[in-house]
Symmetry: C2
Subunit: 240 residues, 2 copies
DNA sequence: GTCTATACACAGATAGAC
DNA sequence: GTCTATCTGTGTATAGAC
């Protein structure tokens, strides 16, 4: 699975606003026609991400948003009831999409070593395809209301747990070595996050997602793969 | 060098407000007596970090700051000329302290493998001793004026370069393997940053700085150390 | 469904007494 | 050197015309 192929398969999901998770937000939207809502919400969300990632969500004024989204302030407020509500909607919509995609790809894999590789790769691909939101989410969720913050923490621990479980299962079946799997999962997550948090740096250096994925996988596997399973890999590591 | 010993040696530096780098800020401070300035600036800086790390610098009002620092709004403004100026002062003071300490410790090391270990360890210790500022700096500097942002990026690349150079030198002398050293330096930095960005997580799990340092060093060395130099280490890796 | 115009609260910053 | 009181701009949110 390379990135281009992934991105195509994803763009369908991404614009699907009217999934089940979204309907608790629907009540705050005064507009009736769904096609209008979908079209304008996309403009609003994109504008929000663009401005917030430059100066922060708190610093973004509704006048900024109005200008960037191409809608008057009055119009904006028929899509949400407050600035905080806008944030909640954006978060729940994007979170629902990413979770669905991630699980679909990982469950598809059967071999335990492949599961680890796929988890890393799909995480990276996802955060590449939706970089502005991933960045936004990391930077802003800490500043917001209690329940939203709890969701963000839950999400952080959830994906970490995925890695931890793969490593544990792998140790049982002798594929991976005995390590502190929780710590390994933590630092793996940290390296994955660096990709979207320092996007500018990797772009300037012409490092591609594929390259970065390969590199992370090789670091983690060098540390975790038991030596019997390592043989097929040694050569490819040299090429990095 | 363990953390406790490090922290002691550092606390002297940290309260040294009146170093050379600070004098360009001195002109904005109306208060004459240096001991008063030092005492109140420390209260102001601490309060700023505390509030900002909860809700963001932008969201912190001068009334919040006044309450937390125990000074009236009028008094606050005799220590800086604007909210932005406060940020600049805080950044330049802390940046100057950290840079000085970091360089001192790394230059002290001679062996190339030791240099890598010390760089990792001291980075971690520093960010532990000054966690609120490190967190603040990561989260906030992106939102601010051009020149300040440039300094933040410069600082990011500067420390990364330290790691890259150690790895390069190590390859030449046969201590480290041939790798993409720039990428290795990047992800090392990412793992170091995770320590202060997710402080809550590691605290909850009772992971100590020492443990985390050991773990990072073992991951990086497993990946980079050439096998002739690895022998002495294999056993200690098993203990992790 | 979208606009313009405006209410009203609260932010940053200062003046001047003590 | 620190305080209280206050000015002025700007932010979020809404009313009501089109």
């Amino acid at each position: 699975m390379n990135y281009l192929k992934f991105k195509k398969s994803v763009s369908n999901y991404a614009k699907d606003f009217f999934n089940e998770d979204f309907f608790e937000n629907r009540k705050n939207i005064r507009i009736k026609k769904e096609s209008t809502v979908a079209k304008n919400l996309e403009k609003i969300f994109d504008a929000t991400l663009k401005i917030s990632n430059k100066k922060g969500f708190q610093a973004m004024t509704m006048r900024d948003l109005s200008r960037e989204a191409g809608l008057s302030m009055g119009a904006l407020y028929s899509y949400f009831s407050s600035k905080e509500d806008l944030l909640k909607m954006l978060q729940s919509q994007r979170r629902s999409v990413t979770k669905r995609i991630l699980e679909e790809y990982i469950n598809h894999e059967t071999g335990i070593a492949d599961k680890l590789r796929t988890a890393i790769r799909i995480h990276l691909y996802l955060s590449e395809a939706m970089q502005p939101w991933f960045y936004f989410s990391y930077m802003e969720t800490k500043n917001i209301s209690g329940p939203e913050q709890a969701k963000a923490i839950e999400s952080e621990l959830y994906t970490e747990k995925i890695f931890e479980n793969i490593l544990k299962d792998g140790e049982k079946s002798g594929v991976f070595l005995h390590r502190n799997h929780q710590l390994t999962a933590s630092v793996t997550k940290a390296m994955l996050q660096d990709w979207y948090l320092k996007r500018w740096k990797y772009a300037k250096r012409n490092v591609s997602v594929e390259q970065y994925a390969k590199y992370l996988i090789s670091i983690i596997e060098t540390f975790c793969l038991s030596s019997e399973h390592e043989n097929g890999r040694k050569k490819s590591r040299r090429e990095l």
